[in-house]
């Protein structure tokens, strides 16, 4: 069994991270009735006895999260240290400063990166030493701010240097067009360059999609149509039953991202008839090294109070996974080209249901010519809390290029006028070349995706044997 370490950077990263730990505890409490520290728990938690040393197997004493929390201002981390999750973290795992990055990527990346490099490497290395077999780093951050974006990508580069063999899966929250941070296009494009070069997989998420999903669920629970009553605490946005009792704003949206992370690792933690490890995600979904942006979409969003689950509902779940409303980033995959797709099922779903739905959906989804059967499947037998089954679809689709295109447009609008540039150039270590490199990196990425969409040359002739 392998372990993973979560590195959460910045305000957004830490808030999402908190929801993740809460929901992870809830899930394990639900599955692990006997209170034994088993393999599944060990992938994210350490079992620590009174003296603070690791104890393996046997009853759970005290759980400590395998995590490093970084933020350059004290507010969010302070709340964590006083909240109900404080016992999960020892104070050394939290790295903070006082004044924050001021929404400035350069400050986060260069100034704080340099200042806190040793401390961060130290903490990560300590966490890694507690792991038997470290497989993956999960980095959670946002792209629009200063710390999450700048320091987060600095940490990413650091992880690649120090632990080149360990996978880096990054969950990035992209800013929307109506974002309140004016310099978010700069921060995002500068961060994109780092993500393209140093991450193994990126799961982009944007706030607008999360808001829409939350709205949809609340609409469903409030309309009260007969036959459509939702089980109140069984939605993807609910945190009921977790450790944290008081629900804060943004919790509903952050719960969705936390569920995404839980579902990705479910097959590696729990048993199932068709297992999928984390390294298989990178192997199967990334055909070319730089094209590693995977669109996540989660279903079902809620469980209806009606208990029986006829097969049509299962099929509906599969169709929903490919509909625009369930995606965590605004994009239109059906009108673009799929390079690869992974279906990760949890719960009581059988192989025949899976194969039947793949057969059914294949004609409607355009796949690239050389990967017509580009499906990777996995079945995990443990369902998520309150649902009987669930599906996570990760698609590598060329529609992400439109998101990047918009991002680039917003960047260019500001850059053309050199607006706000002096804040960045005033930081030690940041130069104008950095901006032009970042711009060319994102342009090259858009170009690569577009190139794959062009009709390919006819299939290369097969090798022939001289007879």
């Amino acid at each position: 069994m392998t372990q993973s370490i979560v590195v959460q950077v910045g305000q957004c990263g830490n808030q999402v991270g908190c929801r993740f730990w809460d929901l992870a505890l809830r899930e394990h409490a639900h599955v692990n009735q006997m209170g034994i520290y088993d393999e599944a728990l060990s992938s994210f938690f350490r079992n620590v006895d009174q003296r603070g040393a690791d104890s393996t197997g046997g009853k759970i004493n005290a759980l400590k999260a395998r995590a490093v929390l970084v933020d350059m201002e004290e507010g969010v981390l302070g709340e964590i240290l006083q909240g109900p999750l404080r016992s999960l973290f020892s104070s050394t795992q939290l790295i903070s400063d006082v004044s924050g990055s001021g929404n400035n990527w350069a400050v986060g990346h260069h100034t704080y990166g340099l200042a806190y490099r040793e401390q961060i490497v130290d903490q990560v290395r300590k966490a890694a030493e507690h792991c038997d077999c470290l497989q993956c780093f999960f980095l959670i951050h946002s792209m629009g701010g200063g710390t999450g974006s700048g320091l987060g990508t600095f940490v990413l580069k650091l992880l690649e240097d120090e632990f080149p063999e360990v996978y880096r899966i990054v969950t990035s929250v992209y800013p929307t067009a109506e974002d309140d941070v004016i310099t978010s296009p700069y921060n995002s494009v500068l961060a994109m360059k780092e993500l393209t070069e140093h991450a193994d997989c990126v799961l982009p998420v944007d706030n607008q999609s999360l808001v829409d999903i939350v709205g949809k669920i609340q609409h469903m629970s409030n309309t009260g149509k007969p036959g459509c009553t939702i089980k109140k605490d069984c939605t993807i946005i609910s945190g009921q039953g977790g450790v944290v009792k008081v629900e804060k704003p943004f919790d509903a949206m952050n719960n969705i991202v936390a569920n995404l992370l839980l579902n990705i690792t479910s097959s590696a933690r729990f048993e199932g008839s068709l297992n999928m490890d984390l390294n298989e995600i990178a192997m199967n979904l990334v055909p070319f090294p730089r094209l590693h942006y995977l669109l996540p979409s989660l279903t079902p969003l809620y469980t209806l109070a009606d208990v029986s689950v006829p097969p049509r509902r299962l099929d509906q779940m599969f169709s929903d996974a490919f509909s625009k409303e369930h995606q965590l980033i605004k994009a239109d995959p059906k009108h673009n080209l799929y390079l690869a797709c992974a279906l990760m099922l949890r719960g009581n779903v059988q192989l025949s249901d899976l194969r039947r739905n793949i057969e059914r959906l294949k004609p409607t989804l355009p796949f690239v010519a050389w990967n017509q059967e580009g499906w990777k499947t996995s079945l995990c037998s443990v369902p998520p809390v309150c649902h009987s089954h669930s599906l996570l679809a990760l698609a590598n689709n060329t529609c992400v290029k439109s998101t990047f295109f918009e991002l680039r447009e917003r960047f260019v609008k500001l850059y053309r006028r050199k607006a706000h540039l002096h804040h960045y150039l005033g930081v030690d270590g940041m130069e104008l070349a950095g901006f032009s490199e970042a711009l060319s990196s994102i342009s090259a990425l858009i170009e690569e995706y577009t190139h794959l969409e062009s009709p390919l040359m006819p299939n290369a002739p097969r090798l022939t044997i001289a007879t």
Binding site: M1, T2, N275, M283
Partner: protein
């Protein structure tokens, strides 16, 4: 003589466990003392406490599947796996053949070889090594190929029979075609014969013939295990008509693999139906054999939807061309066939339909192309059961599909960076493609 099995990767371990269960259930049936004795000696060894321990080594790069298999075996009460006869690591091969072959294989070769050697030393006489793996993943295919290579070097005089499972054509693992091409090209040089199962075929058997509504992986594995057991369980052969054969793998190879260029074997087994229908069905040998013969020449892989319009060419003249011209376009030419009949009244079964020289290549003598094994003991609950192991063109189409898809993907160099990262270069890919094209060409121009 004993068979040492090697279960490799997730698929191999799941199938292996089902295989031993079926064998143990079948041997436990009524009225078959000598059969049970022979089968037990072949597949299990008896401890001093009277327990049956499977002669099997379980290998996987991550521990979940192996622990499940061992636990289920012990729960059955009738047999179990040896303590310590398994090898696993913490982290899997990530569906990457190069990772399995170049990294995990060499890293762990000593440990696995030790385990295999211990099993072999426990055998009085070795009939051969039987490996089970899939070709689509990373461990079964990559580590499995590496281990086969090592075993071939260490035991050059032992028979090695590889059972491989081909994935669903509609996709289970995205890089399955690359992994399949790399595995098959290497195995062809190392193995004595490659026995192929396709997930698509077995899935259809489960849904149409056995009427299982919600097919699970264990249903598919049970069918595969049933087919494998019908080949490996004791039988009377031409070489040993009065006692159960002591050289099953060797005889299988002599009957079927006449030339090292032609090693792909396919399996058909009839009847297959759900246990509820079984009670109401009656079979006779002529009916079963007629169906099997048509399944052979029409390349039908299961008993439903057989194309009865395909027929063998009427006259085979000495000039090869007229035979080719008079062949139906989807006629399946065989090199060799082995028929295994188990059940009541086997001696009355008339197998002349299979001796027709029109079914076989003209350059082999008919008596060398066809053999029969029989066993009067009813197999696994079926009163009469017939299995056909054939070395023929029936696997040509699926193999061609795999190579075609892999080649298209390779033409755009997609995913190749994942393999070069671990040491498999583009040259190695091209070598594998060449080898497989050669195999396809040989079978096409039979």
């Amino acid at each position: 003589m004993s068979v040492v099995s090697l279960q490799l990767g997730q698929c191999g371990n799941q199938i292996g466990h089902e295989l031993f269960s079926v064998i143990s259930d079948d041997s436990g049936g009524p009225n078959r003392k000598q059969y049970k004795q022979c089968s037990d000696e072949r597949f299990f060894h008896e401890t001093s406490a009277g327990e049956l321990v499977a002669r099997s080594v379980l290998v996987d790069m991550e521990p979940k599947v192996i622990s499940r298999a061992i636990a289920k075996a012990s729960k059955s009460g009738r047999w179990r796996y040896g303590d310590g006869a398994h090898f696993s690591q913490k982290q899997g091969s990530g569906n990457n053949w190069a990772n399995g072959f170049c990294v995990h294989g060499p890293r762990h070769e000593e440990a696995v070889e030790d385990l295999v050697r211990m099993e072999m030393e426990r055998c009085d006489r070795l009939a051969g090594i039987f490996t089970m793996m899939s070709v689509a993943g990373g461990t079964g295919s990559g580590v499995g190929t590496y281990i086969t290579q090592r075993l071939r070097d260490l035991y050059p005089n032992s028979f090695i029979l590889n059972q491989v499972t081909w994935p669903y054509e509609a996709g289970e693992v995205i890089v399955q075609n690359y992994n399949s091409v790399l595995t098959l090209s290497h195995l062809y040089q190392l193995s004595d014969a490659i026995l192929v199962h396709e997930n698509d075929t077995v899935h259809k058997i489960c849904s149409r013939l056995m009427n299982i509504k919600h097919i699970s992986i264990s249903d598919v594995n049970k069918v595969i295990a049933h087919q494998l057991a019908s080949v490996l369980q004791p039988a009377y052969t031409a070489d040993s008509p009065c006692h159960y054969s002591t050289n099953p793998i060797g005889e299988l190879l002599t009957s079927l693999v006449c030339h090292p260029e032609y090693k792909l074997l396919s399996l058909c087994n009839i009847p297959q139906m759900s246990s509820t229908s079984l009670a109401y069905s009656v079979f006779n040998w002529p009916g079963l054999l007629k169906h099997l013969r048509q399944m052979l020449i029409a390349s039908a892989r299961m008993e439903e939807g057989i194309d009865w319009t395909v027929s063998a060419p009427l006259a085979v003249t000495s000039a090869g061309e007229s035979a080719t011209n008079s062949r139906h376009k989807s006629f399946n030419l065989s090199l060799a066939n082995l028929l295994i009949l188990r059940g009541k009244d086997v001696s009355t079964a008339v197998t002349d339909g299979f001796k027709d020289p029109a079914l076989y290549v003209p350059w082999l003598k008919p008596e060398n192309s066809f053999s029969t094994w029989t066993s009067p003991v009813a197999f696994n609950g079926y009163e009469k059961s017939a299995t056909l192991v054939s070395n023929s063109q029936s696997l040509l189409k699926p193999l061609d599909n795999i190579v075609r898809k892999a080649w298209n993907m390779f033409a755009s160099r997609a995913y190749v960076h994942q393999y070069t990262k671990f040491g498999i270069s583009e040259e190695d890919f091209l070598d594998s493609f060449t080898a497989l094209e050669q195999i396809i060409s040989s079978y096409t121009h039979l």
